[in-house]
Symmetry: C2
Subunit: 207 residues, 2 copies
């Protein structure tokens, strides 16, 4: 273990090194940066982090983050409350919102079923989703989960649970990404994209 | 620009993205991590950052960081004040200290001469170094600067300034690193390591 020149410096390095993707060398670099730059940068960062945890809450409907009881999307009268898009994470809401192709509301699971990481259905916001659907406002659920084994497992689990309700359940389309060459696509993706081929006209309109 | 679900969230992402080596995606990941984990982690990180800037000062002798007037190394009676090791950065002090091979004191330049980045001799702690040497306590200066063009330029500049004093000036040895294969060493390193060859016995003792 390195000998740091000051206890406070060492503590700051330790705290930064807890962040995801940050090792001790990067942590030292960040602390030195904060010491070197204007004091305002450090105080703003520090105070924002403290405020973040104190003031940010989860939306009571969809578990998106918000500073109020209810997030901007759920509170908006322009959004279609009859469609719920189920996502793993808040980052996925940001990604879907950036497409400007979706006008419904969301539901954040807060993870996906992953036995290896010890995450089961009870660790996710699945029960609140079922309660939301039980109110009868929702007519369609779109599952926008990762295209991984864990994502597929979670989709299957949700599909089973949702089949008790009289709603449409769909999953976002899997296929060849825009700009991809067929020869470099993996067999599973290319195989599925043939099985799930879409009529050309419909595909054309979507663009 | 992405639409973030909350102003405070966006501000936190912006502040994190100012850190060196951190892009917006990593910043979002960090903010979500702080929101997900226990509140203590966020408050500890935030408060440490604020305290860092308020309480950490630079040692009045060597510009190492410290919480007192004078750093631990300069304050220690066990360290040999007649040898000064000149380094670019506080990280280099940590690196040299970890070797346990050095018992003198340090002097942090706070950078190296780099015209491309607009850093000249006046931006560095060179004047304080010369004042320190003028007191007559120092008998030897070891320059431990990066093996780059900028590092060599800084060494040369310092050497010229230091030649006015009756002291020994040396630079840390450049050569083949421990564990390196000769065939993969670059020509400059290998060439210099032949020119600056050391008597075998001395080399043996050093290990």
């Amino acid at each position: 273990m390195a000998n740091y020149p000051s206890k406070l410096f060492e503590q700051a390095v330790n705290e930064f090194a807890k962040l995801p993707g940050i090792g001790r060398k990067s942590a030292v670099r960040m602390v030195l940066y904060l010491l070197r730059e204007e004091e305002e940068i450090a105080s703003l960062l520090g105070n924002t982090i403290v405020k973040l945890r104190q003031e940010i809450r989860y939306c009571k409907h969809c578990y998106n983050i918000t500073e109020d009881e209810c997030c901007e999307i759920c509170a908006s009268i322009k959004r279609d409350k009859s469609i719920i898009c189920v996502v793993e994470d808040i980052r996925d809401i940001i990604a879907v919102e950036n497409t400007s192709q979706y006008n419904g509301v969301y539901h954040v699971l807060g993870g996906i079923i992953s036995p290896i990481d010890g995450i089961g259905p009870n660790d996710l916001n699945i029960e609140p989703l079922l309660n939301r659907i039980a109110t009868g406002i929702c007519k369609e659920v779109i599952m926008a989960l990762p295209a991984t084994i864990e994502g597929d497992t979670t989709c299957f689990f949700l599909y089973k649970k949702l089949s008790n309700f009289d709603i449409d359940v769909s999953s976002i389309a899997r296929g060849i990404s825009f700009g991809d060459e067929l020869e470099y696509a993996d067999e599973v993706t290319l195989g599925r994209s043939i099985i799930n081929r879409t009529p050309y006209q419909a595909n054309y309109q979507m663009r």
